[in-house]
């Protein structure tokens, strides 16, 4: 059998994985029976997958599982408190506006190389979402914290991808805090005035 009749490697992988059935599987089996080259490739693939099957996940100590749910609950509580503290930073006069600038600088700095922040999506979100301003402000506060304290900037990813976060956080504020937040956001809106851009895109007007 000539080399050009030999089977595609991807198809052989599917065959070895048992994903080729019926007449096609029978055809491949017949080909393999008559073609030493493809037979060798199939044997090599099977050997590879047999070895891969030896890969083990290390089992944590029993205490890890015993305290797993409690650990998750503890983290949830801590995270909620941490977020609440961050949202309160918005209430500090001038901080949010400064933070918004930092956010824009960070986004520009990241540029087109690593599209962790989907600028198009953010722009669309800002233009259409009722919580967009809150999203921006919270992300901005996080960005400011990152800039100041040198933490990894993962908070940006979290908030700009999932806009519902801020709505949840806002519901955790008491009435007085919520009123303050609304007033602060209104002030920020006024202070922006003219259009600003993120990565050359007009994001609000």
């Amino acid at each position: 059998m000539s080399a050009r009749d030999c089977l595609d490697e991807d198809r052989l992988i599917d065959f070895v994985m048992g994903e080729v059935t019926g007449g096609e599987a029978a055809g491949i089996e017949e080909h393999i029976r008559r073609c030493p080259a493809c037979r060798g490739r199939v044997e090599s693939l099977r050997r590879t997958l047999d070895l891969a099957a030896m890969d083990r996940v290390p089992e944590p100590v029993p205490a890890y599982w015993e305290h797993f749910a409690a650990g998750v609950r503890h983290r949830i509580r801590s995270r909620a408190e941490s977020r609440k503290r961050r949202i309160r930073l918005i209430l500090i006069p001038g901080l949010a506006t400064a933070a918004a600038s930092v956010l824009i600088v960070l986004m520009l700095a990241r540029g087109p190389v690593e599209p962790v922040v989907d600028v198009e999506a953010v722009v669309a979100e800002i233009n259409t979402s009722a919580v967009a301003e809150e999203v921006l402000v919270e992300a901005a506060v996080d960005a400011l914290l990152v800039a100041q304290f040198g933490e990894e900037a993962d908070l940006l990813d979290n908030y700009l991808i999932e806009t519902g976060d801020v709505a949840e956080i806002v519901t955790e504020l008491d009435d007085e805090e919520e009123r303050e937040l609304i007033n602060k956001l209104a002030t920020i809106m006024e202070s922006r005035g003219s259009a600003e851009t993120i990565a050359g895109k007009e994001c609000w007007s």
Binding site: L51, A52, V57, P58, F68, R75, I76, R79, E114, E168
Partner: protein, 176 residues
């Protein structure tokens, strides 16, 4: 959609503990297979459920609950890997470990396991994630596409690349 997923989708507050109980080991396993670091996987598994809790209002039941959770886990692990320096594994290192297996007295399984583990580290993270879900979790291509937020074609391509890479690193050296 099973009962647990339905209750979760409807915002049943009491169901979260059951979700943790049912999926924690699977999530830990997936995290380990992507991160290849036990300590990080233990930490990440808990973080995944924190995120699941925080995002619970976004689960609409359009996909299976476990693929939704896997999607969160996969995204978090891949994001984490982007930030840590991923050690590169030269092909020669794996081959060396395989060749050092004793000729007589049967295969040295601990050495083989280490070689296999090193080969897994040598896969690009996304291929590692797809391979883990397809090969170890026996998830369908469609389920993996949902869990990774990509197309079935991309999943197949990632899987094929992963197997070819593993074959390159392990295939010929694996004969005993």
């Amino acid at each position: 959609m099973d009962e647990l997923s339905t209750r979760f989708a409807h915002g049943d507050e009491g169901v979260f503990e059951e979700v943790v109980e049912r999926y924690s080991r699977k999530v830990y396993g997936l995290c380990y297979r992507i991160l290849r670091d036990e300590e990080e996987a233990r930490d990440m598994a808990q973080e995944v459920f924190v995120r699941v809790y925080e995002k619970r209002g976004k689960f609409g039941g359009r996909s299976a609950l476990y693929t939704w959770i896997y999607r969160i886990a996969t995204n978090m692990c891949l994001t984490h890997l982007k930030r840590r320096r991923i050690p590169t594994v030269p092909l020669e290192a794996v081959e060396g470990m395989l060749e050092a297996a004793p000729a007589g007295g049967g295969p040295d399984y601990s050495r083989l396991e280490r070689a296999v583990s090193q080969a897994m580290v040598g896969l690009p993270p996304r291929q590692r994630a797809v391979f883990a879900m397809r090969f170890f979790e026996k998830m369908s291509v469609r389920e993996i596409a949902e869990a990774t937020g990509t197309t079935t074609g991309a999943v197949k391509a990632n899987y094929h690349h992963a197997v070819r890479r593993l074959k390159e690193m392990l295939g010929e050296g694996g004969s005993t």
